[in-house]
Symmetry: C2
Subunit: 388 residues, 2 copies
């Protein structure tokens, strides 16, 4: 097991009818900016319910944070935070709204050009760059990204997606009420399952370091997602199933799975370029890239792929090659069972577009991905060829 640090101070308020807790955890004298997306939270009445709980606090709203939240949008909210002396942010939405709100909170006290904050990647922004941020809470509407219980965000700027990490970006609390997610479109629910699944595999399908309990937790999340995947899409109001979906997605990226073990974020990094270039939903890019990446990287990941085959998919017989083949096939079939397509060509993206993707990976410095930093652009190209 590797040495590790684990720290996660976000308070989780989970279950039915938990919105009232907002009143407990937002300071009574706060001036609050509620941030949300394109309007479904408004139309459904959720924003009004949240405002009712906030009572006499001074409340502003900022809507229009888009999927893959854009720098240009977020800086407008930063201006409001500054001009209206906002001292608490409340994100009501899914990963994009929460990620965007993290950027707003970090940028609000930053004196320089806030595009600077996009340049640190997966390394935390140093405390001498930002030492203070606006505290914020979240009301989660989409179980997927885990952003409600971590300190990372992904921000879009021009044609790139940029990771932003800071301990100052942990939500102080997150309300996780599965019933709030009942009205989501089926595609978003499916994407959420895939996102949580791939977050888990990226911290698990690497090389063994004898992190026994981390492996078992990862396998437990994967097995849970497999068990509930089709039902959480097909039966949106099945509370128990959705509750397991929500909690698994949060646990998949709150630091517990990845503590002390190698991590391989190549699927996300390649996927980000596909979203930025072709507008393919984030979850769907992962469903395309992961099976292809596992094929190309089967030798480097052999030991963990065999463990995955046996413990997650209960594949008992066959040669090692056959077990690995079957595990990858079952992964692909699982994504497809949720309604996702797993080939680029199904989105009209052919092999002729691969050079453009490689160019963008190069432009964004993604030239040494994986748990061993040896996915060069050549290997990314092989993965993309396999994904067509």
């Amino acid at each position: 097991m590797f040495n590790f640090d684990f720290y996660n101070p976000t308070r989780i308020v989970f279950g039915k009818d938990r919105l009232e807790s907002i009143d407990k955890y937002v300071p009574v004298d706060a001036t609050v900016l509620i941030t949300y997306g394109s309007g479904s939270a408004k139309k459904s009445g959720l924003i009004d319910k949240v405002k009712a709980v906030l009572g006499n606090r001074k409340v502003y709203e900022f809507s229009g944070i888009e999927p893959n939240p854009c720098y240009e949008t977020l800086v407008k909210a930063v201006e409001i935070v500054r001009s209206e002396n906002i001292n608490f942010l409340l994100a009501v939405g899914g990963g994009s709204v929460i990620d965007g709100t993290k950027f707003i909170t970090l940028a609000s006290y930053y004196k320089g050009d806030s595009r600077d904050l996009l340049k640190y990647g997966l390394a935390p922004i140093p405390f001498d760059v930002i030492e203070k941020a606006v505290p914020f809470g979240t009301v989660l509407t989409l179980p997927a990204t885990g952003s409600e219980m971590n300190s990372g965000a992904v921000i879009s700027y021009e044609h790139g997606k940029y990771a932003v990490m800071s301990e100052l970006a942990f939500p102080t609390f997150s309300i996780l009420d599965p019933t709030i997610t009942f009205t989501l479109p089926k595609t978003q629910v499916a994407n959420g399952v895939i996102d949580a699944f791939v977050h888990t595999t990226e911290q698990y399908l690497t090389f063994p370091v004898d992190g026994k309990v981390q492996d078992r937790i990862a396998e437990g999340i994967l097995q849970t997602l497999i068990e509930i995947g089709e039902t959480t899409v097909a039966e949106p109001e099945n509370y128990d199933v959705r509750a397991n979906h929500v909690w698994s997605a949060t646990l998949a990226l709150n630091g517990i799975v990845g503590a002390g073990v190698p991590q391989d974020w190549a699927t996300h990094m390649i996927g980000h370029e596909l979203t930025a270039l072709f507008g393919i939903d984030h979850g769907q890019t992962l469903a395309i890239v992961l099976p292809a990446l596992l094929e190309v990287r089967r030798e480097q990941k052999r030991a963990k792929l065999l463990q995955y085959a046996e413990r997650v998919w209960h594949i008992e017989s066959g040669s090692e090659e056959e077990k690995v083949d079957l595990a990858i096939q079952k992964t692909r079939e699982f994504f497809e069972s949720l309604g996702a397509k797993t080939h680029l060509s199904q989105y009209g993206v052919g092999a002729d577009k691969i050079p453009v993707v490689i160019e963008q990976l190069k432009a964004h410095g993604m030239i040494a991905l994986s748990e061993t930093q040896d996915i060069t652009l050549d290997i990314s190209q092989k993965i993309l060829e396999r994904a067509v």
Copy 2:
């Protein structure tokens, strides 16, 4: 799944050679009281190493916190905190030292008779009773209780053991260096495995509420402890094995396993009386009580016992009764494989002593234990009879 709140702000610093982090997380201007036990931390040189890292900070020491830390001892430390204006505590020890330090931190700002703090049991001490505590960190020397990453303590007073819970009692950080635990006596290592195992079963062997991911995490911890149990006792310097022991024990009681599921702390509560009356080590009382309790409660716990049999012990064949029997037998054998005795009579405690135990349970209000509050004194008596 039940509604739940989860909050755990303790920072974990895990791995080899991590003591230097103390310098990062203890304020530079702190006046520190280092708390420890009967002297092994001093004799091994660990206290001196910790003091070296603390550098120029003003440092006091308080030694002599005993196993099952006593109120009378701890109030002496409270006097030092007050008289010397201590504003940071650093517990160097196992669960007893950390639990004792939690009591010290809570009692230090409490104006009344600090025995008041013993009366809240498993309910958190209200914030209007204590609103402030001295921040503290820990250096863990014994993987067992999970106290290094939770907000609970058990304090001994006269002939009772009293639970004390408060959000103010989370360590701000805990250093978990498995190599520090290499020199522990084998019995303490074994007790640590048993304690972590039983913490997990107490949040798992109850009744099903479809907490799929919580169940999988519990099963993962149990499987890990089973895998590493004998080796962590037999090969104290096997780093990977001990690292898995340490991290499993922390995760077993940091709130993740118990979030949203029923809990049955009866084994601990009955065990506490056995320690208080007969001086049997805490871990050993659990090895005695758990198998007996599972026998007596097999009907109430049937569904989870069958799941436990199948998923943890891989018992595939036989009738339901046979599976449950075998799972309980394997649990007992596991404890025995670590060198623990699983019968009261092996400690010279016969059936004639049961009325005394029942009297103490009654005196401490332990008249409605379990996940359904239906372990009456009559049922505790049956469990104890079975445990002789």
